[in-house]
Amino acid sequence: MGLTGLEIFKQLPKTNCRDCGQTTCLAFAMAVATGKAVPDRCPHLSEAARDFLGSASAPPVMPVKIGAGSKQVEIGNESVLFRHDKRFENPTAIAVTVCDTLSNGEIAARVERINGLVFERVGQVYKVDLVAVVNSSGNPGRFAEAAKIAAERAEFALILVSEDPAAIEAALDCTADGRPLVCGANAANYQAMTGLAGRFGVPLAVRGANLEELASLAEKVAALGLRQIVLDSGARETAKVLADQTQIRRQALKKFRPLGYPTITFVDHEDSLQAVLQAGVYVAKYAGVVVLDTVEPADLLALITLRLNLYTDPQKPPAVESKVYEILNPGKDSPVYITTNFSLTYYSVAADVEASRVPGYILPVDTDGTSVLTAWSAGKFTPEKIAEALNSSGIAEKVSHRRVIIPGALGVLSGRLQEVSGWEVLVGPRESSGIPSFIKQQWKT
């Protein structure tokens, strides 16, 4: 960042070999300049160019990858303090703990439960991201064994939590392929830990007793050649963590390099409701990783939904394509539901149509991804627009009747819609959750 496309272009090999995925070196340079690609994507950079571009174009918060293959998550790469300034980039990775003091069977069972923390929402799958294996036993051999079981069973990458280099080495010996995050280094052990992280090619979390110590440690670790660094300010009290997270992000945006890395936070509240609220603060305020101790689906559903909301792009409301959707193999007599193409609205309706067990067609009208009342207030969900969608979507060929169900909130439109479309209009319930009982009573063929 800060460099122009041309300045970057000068550093490239100019062979247009396409190995970076771009068609030309110039295109690649432009992509780097606008933050759409990182310099490392070009495998042919000279050492000097790599150094120059690496430090000059690095985003304020270094992107760090944890895990390998399909289990990989990226954290960092953030460039703003507030989501409304642009957007937040990489959602906070949520990690759930597994202690090595559990028996092997218990470890396997807990990992299974963590694997099950997967939720579907508005047509997408959301889940936790990491399993944090914690060396509570103090025994390197035991820790390695626990890590191995977790690595074999978990559908997620690992964090290895131990400040004992011997334990980390033992665990890395059997799990390094999965590129776990080592957590980690402190003032006393950082040389050994950095050595291990370098040797096994894994990212490293660094803990300072405060921000000053953290900055100097991060700098020393970087000087030893490691760049995949994650920061832990050592604070554990919620308000203090918030202050540190804010300070680290502000420092990073000011390009104070020693703090230009993503962060890791730990939730330690013994009250389990409080723990979720505490985690919520860290998700909202800048944590790259949040580690917590619960496998309750309710806890994670709430937290993941918060994360999803905060990390959506404020410029683009999530929308679905405006076309006829078929739920449960509908036929000629099946009901036709009208809604909007706001993802949240469409999927609420789709879930409830499915729950009714009566097959049906859903036609989301293109309202620029806004909800029913928002669209209506903004003049984007008019009888004319609905009629147009009925005519052009091909739904008329799929059904033999001419009856359409509209959202209850838009009852006022029914007369006009009937007039302009020629379809008979049924006003549905206000909430889509009313669809199952509505359809059983009102839909007779």
């Binding site: 989501r83 997967v118 502000r250 305020k285 309750e296 404020p314």
Partner: protein
């Protein structure tokens, strides 16, 4: 390594709004920094948490919520006392019974309910209408008179009905809630209009109409955050404390209501968390007054706020 702390020097601050009368008055707002950033400015008041009381028995409440108020949901006075015992900082009386499509209670009846509740509790009052603009401008003036001098917070005033409500608040010594749908410019405009009628800015709370987790939360979060930044940057017209009606929204969601969400975990826990985490999230954006529905969410939220307000050395 010395790290030069980045501290913003904000020229503005959030208005401080007093609700209720001594010795039971509470204060909202007054911050000179972003939420809970104790290292940077003053945070004289912790955010407030109110519980909702209805003048009529609520219909369609999920059992998890109704169960929290055994035997009192037909008696607003007993209900309000119970909320006071549960630790609510304020009582929010919702005159749902005035809704024209429901019981259609008139101004006299609404006023009587408000008077009875005010007489029964020490906690300061928020009184809101039924949400139908024409009806609210009819009943709220009567309510304002019935609890004259109590320094309650009345609402919700909108672009269409603020004049009569403002007038009543001025005459009888109450604060006012200005409500606009998720739009920072509209919020500012309504604050200006209300201010022009003679109500000082420190007598207004603004309601951005919040969405709960998963249902528009992010819009509310960003609008509240932007309003706080404007306030701190010196825009007095956006510096009124923010009130968030979280309970009514959180308990509408599928996540709070459905018993079996296919792997969503225990319903009661999920519902409480939905409400508490929505509130905690919006507090982090800059909300000052939170109206909640369930005593357990209130407890969790207040406990969380205590942790966020805990001073620490930096």
């Amino acid at each position: 390594m010395a790290v030069a702390m980045v501290k913003e020097r904000w020229p503005g601050r959030v208005m401080e709004l007093v609700i209720g009368r001594e010795p039971h008055a509470v204060k909202a707002g007054g911050e000179s920094t972003l939420p809970f950033l104790h290292f940077e400015g003053e945070i004289p008041n912790r955010p407030l948490a109110a519980l909702e009381v209805w003048d009529v028995e609520p219909e369609g409440w999920p059992e998890t919520l109704a169960e929290a108020y055994p035997g009192v949901t037909r008696d607003p006075v007993a209900w309000a006392k119970m909320c006071e015992d549960c630790g609510a900082d304020l009582i929010c009386l919702r005159l749902a019974g005035a809704h024209p499509e429901g019981k259609n209670a008139g101004p006299a009846q609404a006023a009587e309910t408000a008077r009875a509740v005010a007489a029964a509790v020490n906690r300061p009052l928020i009184v809101i209408g039924c949400g139908v603009e024409e009806k609210d401008e009819e009943i709220l003036p009567a309510v304002a008179g019935a609890i004259a001098g109590q320094n309650a917070l009345l609402g919700c005033a909108t672009m269409n009905n603020y004049k009569k409500i403002t007038e009543a608040c001025l005459s009888y010594g109450h604060g006012i809630i200005a409500s606009t749908p998720l739009d920072i410019n509209l919020a500012k405009q309504l604050n200006i209009l209300i201010n022009e009628t003679g109500i000082p800015l420190d007598r207004i709370a603004f309601d951005p109409i919040v969405g709960p987790l998963g249902y528009g939360f992010e819009y509310a979060y960003s609008i509240i955050e932007r309003a706080r930044l404007s306030a701190l940057s010196g825009d007095r017209m956006l510096a009124t404390p923010v009130i968030c009606f979280v309970g009514q929204e959180a308990w509408k969601t599928r996540e709070a209501r459905s018993e079996d969400g296919g792997g969503w975990g225990d319903q009661a826990r999920r519902a409480i968390l939905w409400e508490a985490l929505t509130a905690a999230g919006l507090a982090l954006a800059g909300g000052s007054i939170f109206v909640l529905s369930h005593p357990a969410s209130l407890n969790a939220f207040k406990k969380h706020l205590a942790a966020m307000m805990k001073p620490f050395t930096c």
